[in-house]
Symmetry: C2
Subunit: 175 residues, 2 copies
């Protein structure tokens, strides 16, 4: 079986939109999409609220209640029959997120087991046949086929094959 390594944030979980929805409600302000293009959606929030946004991101519970990316459950359920799927998240920077991420994943994707999850610091450590990720820093050193999953912060990046949503992923992996 070929191995597919799938990222969590901005790929199957949606922390960006969770944060934006909350911010609009609390502060009646919008984000600056242009500013995200440096490679981080966090940069889209106004300077005076950067600290606040970061604190909310780092707090226990934030990663426990995120929206699921459209169609990711159905497509990954099917992929899980045909491939060896691992969910790999660069999460050790945020120790409070670790348990939240495990619980979130096993709730929404109950067909995965704890054996298929890895919470790491640096994805150079893992190998496989395919990687789906929204960050170049993760794809960069990967030895297999790389797919950049489209996110607000990576829209201007060129030179990578893209997956824009999970319907497209199905077209590639389940055809």
């Amino acid at each position: 079986m070929e191995r597919v390594i799938v990222d969590m944030d901005e790929v199957i979980a949606d922390p960006m939109n969770e944060m934006i929805d909350w911010y609009r409600k609390e502060y009646k302000q919008d984000v600056d999409w242009e500013k995200m293009l440096v490679g981080s959606w966090l940069k889209g929030f106004p300077d005076e609220h950067q600290q606040l946004i970061l604190e909310r991101l780092l707090a226990p519970g934030f990663f426990r209640n995120l929206p699921v990316m459209p169609d990711s459950v159905d497509v990954l359920k099917e992929m899980n029959q045909r491939y060896e799927v691992f969910i790999v998240s660069a999460a050790t920077e945020f120790p409070n997120s670790l348990k939240d991420k495990m619980e979130w994943l096993l709730e929404h994707f109950p067909f995965f087991t704890w054996k298929q999850i890895a919470l790491c610091g640096d994805k150079r450590l893992v190998y496989g046949d395919f990687m789906i990720d929204d960050h170049l820093k993760n794809l960069k050193y990967f030895n297999g086929k790389k797919y950049l999953f489209t996110a607000a912060h990576n829209l201007t990046i060129t030179g990578y094959d893209r997956i824009n949503n999970w319907k497209e992923a199905a077209g590639i992996f389940l055809k």
Copy 2:
């Protein structure tokens, strides 16, 4: 730089002796070392206390206060200068352990960063040049040079090169 993948439990942390010390104090009984030889030190505790031991293992805090294996700090500090060291623990089976393990590691081995830690379910996912581990299930699929780190539960295993303690590790990696 060559990459060395180092396990946590029974290699740099000592959950077994922590548990045995506590058990002797609380129950005035000893463990059966023979029974551990099936590949798990947990089996050394009497049947009637298996549940109790497992509950203590799974509780928040257990992995936060473990003894450090002798000489592991000094030797890994030096190895960290000469190799790309990753600490990889099969920990996602125990979600309560994740944050504890991160904090424990960064306290006792402050020269490591969060980038060098991975908490996973299945070590087939990782690759490198050397792996030091006390479990065959982890070493089995590894593509590099494997070292079985001696522990009470693996004393009868043959066919692997062993590292019996961190002074021996220094002899191999720092010569």
